[in-house]
């Protein structure tokens, strides 16, 4: 299998209605981003974080991935948006094809987003940075219109 899609898991949409996730900066939960090799085969049916096919620890990347810095949800026009600060792993030797954002606080580590890097991204004893889109009504990583 291969990493083929950037998608929001269906389970996440259900969990939003159940109030499972809280993205607020102060009282919110901890969200993490884990990196995966090309054997990972996530789809909209993916529900939770898994260690299977996660890249090995290297440099500042540890098992489970890195903690994301949240940006409190706001609205822009009639669209609700939230965002994360860019995440960097330093002095890391990593080859990753994609990533999963998941809720590290909620029971079962439910998945929030599956991100496809559109090919292998490699750092060798260097910096591996994931850049999130600007927090706009048309670009933010999570938007509800």
């Amino acid at each position: 299998m291969a990493f083929t899609t950037t998608v929001m898991p269906t389970s996440f949409k259900v969990e939003i209605l159940k109030g499972v996730h809280n993205f607020s900066t102060g009282s919110g939960q901890t969200f993490k981003l884990a990196l995966y090799n090309n054997s990972a085969s996530f789809t909209a049916a993916t529900t939770a974080y898994t260690t299977t096919n996660e890249v090995a620890a290297s440099g500042s990347y540890a098992a489970g991935g890195g903690t994301l810095t949240k940006v409190t949800p706001t609205s822009t026009g009639t669209t609700a948006v939230t965002d994360f600060s860019d995440l960097s792993f330093t002095t890391a030797t990593i080859t990753a094809f994609g990533a999963m954002i998941y809720n590290d606080t909620a029971t079962g580590n439910p998945a929030v987003a599956i991100l496809n890097f559109s090919g292998a991204k490699t750092s060798t004893a260097g910096t591996f940075t994931i850049v999130f889109p600007a927090k706009t009504a048309t670009g933010a990583i999570i938007r509800i219109a």
Partner: protein
Amino acid sequence: MFELKFGQMQNPVVKTSDFGGLSCEDLADLCADKIIGVAESAPPAIREQAKFFRERVQRAVFEYLNQAKRAERATCIQICVQGGEHDAANLLRRV
């Protein structure tokens, strides 16, 4: 009756480097992209203006990042010198 729609998710940008951190040029690009976004559907005149402004921002950020890098290195060299680490100071001078 009411429909909540999640926006189409975009592929993230990934920047990597080998044997060190990201270059000032990479960081300036990331910074400019955070400040200025141009929709492909925007009118051509606005799109061109926004792209021109983005280039100016990128160049300014690049220049100041380079200055910050040199200033930080100068500070580190002085810390090494004051700590008697002259070899380390010389290594930093050659970076």
